[in-house]
């Protein structure tokens, strides 16, 4: 099913051989780039029918206890521990179910999943099952925010076009975002769903008042960024990080440049920005940088739009810098 050759560990995660010295109170300490890696040819064992059914047949299997009739999805076991290990048998279940409880949304992900954030992972009880299966949750309406998935929300299992025999082969979307035909048909694939491409929000034409507001906010933002640049704790937050960000607001636009510990505001459009930030009201960004509410939350609340989901990383760093400056003022 895989059309391109991928590495088990993507090369972007692998550091170069190297070391450096960190000096603390006059003493030198040696720090070495390192890794602890093991490769596997790992058997899916008794789970093989389940994963093969997902990959090859777009079917969802569970196991039913021959004694109590409990249906577990996924089919975790071959014998039921509740019935003195009575045997279970594989059965197919429906691909529509309901959320067992309100699922969490991960905004700050582990290094393995940073490109995926924000993402939801929750448990679905599919029709015909008694237990819940963990799945990723997506919406066709843009960034995943609280309230889209709740306890009892009806969802549909969707299959990736490119399947490998892993849990990543499937995910769920709310049935309210699908057509009746899609809900009823088993084996619906991601390419059959209408995903909204990231569309940059259009800003209204600025009037004099908005230009004045922009100019005032820009001075505030400039002042905070200058303060961040002189704050050791905040500079550490962006060590090794490089980004050119184009910020668009109703009253005007500017760039924020992050360059390995340095941060500065430039009143020009970068030639090739790493990403674009759009907020109608520049005070949204000003408040975040001034530690009066998180920029992350502004993205989640749709007051601030970013062109790339994976740049949540950079947003987190800006939030962290705001907190670092606030902490330094206290101590």
């Amino acid at each position: 099913m895989t059309t391109q050759q991928e590495k088990v560990i993507p090369s972007k995660y692998i550091p170069d051989v190297g070391s450096h010295v960190e000096t603390i109170e006059g003493n030198d300490y040696l720090i070495t780039n390192d890794a602890m890696y093991t490769f596997y040819q790992r058997s899916k064992g008794e789970f093989s029918p389940f994963f093969l059914a997902l990959r090859d047949d777009k079917r969802l299997l569970g196991c039913k206890c021959t004694n109590c009739g409990l249906v577990r999805v996924p089919p975790f076991l071959t014998h039921c521990p509740d019935c003195n290990f009575a045997p279970t048998e594989l059965i197919e279940v429906d691909q529509v179910g309901i959320m067992n409880s309100t699922p969490p949304i991960t905004y700050f992900a582990t290094s393995l999943f940073q490109d995926m954030a924000p993402y939801g992972r929750g448990r679905v009880i599919f029709n015909g099952a008694d237990t819940a299966m963990s799945v990723n949750l997506y919406t066709t309406t843009g960034i995943l925010v609280p309230g889209i998935f709740k306890k009892g929300t009806e969802v549909k299992l969707i299959f990736r076009d490119d399947r490998k025999g892993e849990m990543t082969d499937v995910f769920c979307v709310p049935t309210v975002e699908l057509s009746k035909e899609q809900i009823e048909r088993k084996g619906v694939q991601e390419s059959e769903i209408n995903w909204e491409a990231p569309i940059e929000p259009k800003l209204p034409q600025a009037d004099d008042q908005e230009v004045a507001l922009y100019n005032e906010a820009l001075e505030g933002i400039k002042s905070i960024i200058e303060e961040m640049n002189t704050n050791e704790r905040a500079r550490k937050d962006i060590a090794g990080w490089k980004r050119h960000i184009l910020v668009k607001t109703t009253g005007g636009q500017f760039a924020i440049v992050i360059d390995d510990g340095d941060i500065r505001l430039e009143q020009r459009e970068p030639a090739s920005p790493d990403f674009v930030m759009v907020c109608e009201d520049p005070r949204t960004l000003l408040d975040g940088l001034a530690y009066r509410g998180a920029i992350t939350d502004s993205v989640i609340n749709r007051k601030l739009w970013i062109s790339k989901n994976m740049e949540f990383n950079t947003i987190f760093k800006l939030d962290r810098m705001a907190r670092s400056v606030a902490r330094s003022k206290k101590s």
Binding site: T102, P103, P104, F108, T110, R121, A129, V135, N136, A294
Partner: protein, 398 residues
């Protein structure tokens, strides 16, 4: 008949976000040196070692305790490592208690150590994403790891399910007040990672969402450090106490429970932390406590997340389920309230050096009982996916 077991010595290293200056070998020895000094005994007087080290990946070695056994002077003696996720430290104490109670040894070293932030993510040039990735290897590897399981999102599942059933509880303004309160309490803990990081409820409310519904200032921080206790059976404990002049704090109740990993009928009820319920009530039963609301003075609770702290307090029977906000609304844990909860600042402000955390909590509970002349403390450790594991211990000061 089982023997009575008490804590006769304790020591911790400073808890820090990063110990560039020390490896886990030295951190382990630092805490051990402090603990034997506190007990006024020699390491040669210790019969057995119980090591709480959570994660091979953090220490970058399998069997991470083997190297430190001899470096602590414990060669040719009993040594065992316990690893049970976040509850590692508490389970290590539980194991040591069982061996001493059974009469196998007279004295034991209980040592927790963790070196988490050597892990480093070269794509974001920061440690935290790699630290939580390393913890991510602890999730179910067939069904959950590949889709982004993390410690935070698995605990968030439980918290959100609790909120589904108890919609008026765990109000954001209450979780913010609890975090702020803990940040005040940590001021008195010179070993804490965030001793001087006091925050207002407003700052907590304004901090960024990390994993919905958890905000940054409502989550424990990852820490490097070690904590050690010296445990002894009754006769030896009394002799040590006579010698060092420090009263024995007895472990009078121990309870443990591990729930099902997966949710659904006959499996885990996501809206409860039944492991907390069973473990606490088993510990009460062993200690002869009939009404914990009348007996417990101090709670050293494994606060991985503020919301979970609230649910755990309810599962312990110290506040009603569904009304955990009474901790703040009714002043139960505010200064002068009924319960002294996490006087060390908890894992959110003292820090979470995983294998060492619950042992640090026991260190703090013992200090508070002796210092304040209080009688009874509850020490708690939670861990694994979806708050699956719990160990509770009742400590009593004569």
């Amino acid at each position: 008949m089982s023997k009575r077991v008490g804590i006769v010595g304790a020591g911790v290293t400073p808890f820090k976000g990063r110990w560039v200056e020390k490896t886990y070998y030295e951190l382990a020895q630092m805490a051990t040196r402090e603990a034997v000094k506190d007990a006024a005994i020699s390491i040669q007087d210790v019969d057995a070692a119980f090591y709480g080290i959570y994660n091979d990946i953090f220490e970058r070695t399998a069997i991470p305790e083997h190297a430190i056994h001899g470096l602590l002077g414990m060669q040719n003696k009993f040594g065992i490592r316990i690893t049970t996720g976040g509850a590692t430290g508490a389970y290590t104490l539980s194991a040591a208690h069982a061996y001493l109670s059974a009469g196998r040894f007279k004295t034991a070293l209980v040592l927790g150590v963790e070196k988490a932030t050597d892990c480093f993510d070269f794509s974001s040039m920061s440690a935290t994403p790699e630290v939580i990735k390393s913890i991510g290897w602890s999730g179910d590897s067939f069904f959950e790891q590949p889709i982004g399981w993390s410690a935070s999102d698995s605990y968030a599942e439980v918290v959100l399910a609790y909120m589904d059933e108890n919609p008026g509880d765990l109000k954001p303004e209450v979780t913010a007040k609890i975090s702020s309160l803990l940040s005040e309490q940590v001021k008195g803990n010179p070993y804490a990672q965030r001793q001087f990081d006091q925050v207002t409820p407003e700052e907590v409310m304004n901090s960024r969402l990390v994993v919905y519904p958890f905000k940054e200032l409502e989550i424990c921080v990852y820490t490097e450090g070690a904590a050690a206790l010296i445990l002894a059976e009754e006769e030896t404990a009394r002799a040590i106490s006579r010698n060092n002049g420090t009263p024995v704090v007895w472990i009078t109740g121990v309870g443990e429970a591990n729930e099902h990993s997966f949710a659904g009928k006959n499996q885990k009820d996501m809206s409860r932390i039944m492991s907390d319920y069973y473990a606490s009530h088993r510990a009460y039963e062993m200690a002869g406590i009939e009404d914990p609301t009348k007996s417990i003075d101090v709670v050293e609770l494994h606060d991985a997340f503020v919301h979970q702290l609230e649910i755990s307090m309810a599962e312990f029977g110290l506040v009603p389920l569904g009304r955990a906000d009474s901790l703040i609304d009714d002043g139960l844990m505010t200064p002068g309230g009924k319960y002294l909860v996490n006087p060390c600042g908890g894992l959110i402000y003292c820090g979470h050096a995983v294998g060492a955390s619950n042992i640090m909590s026991a260190w703090s509970a013992r200090n508070e009982l002796i210092k304040r002349g209080l009688k009874t403390a509850l020490v708690h450790g939670t861990g694994s996916t979806v708050a699956q594991y719990t160990v509770c211990m009742v400590l009593e000061h004569e």
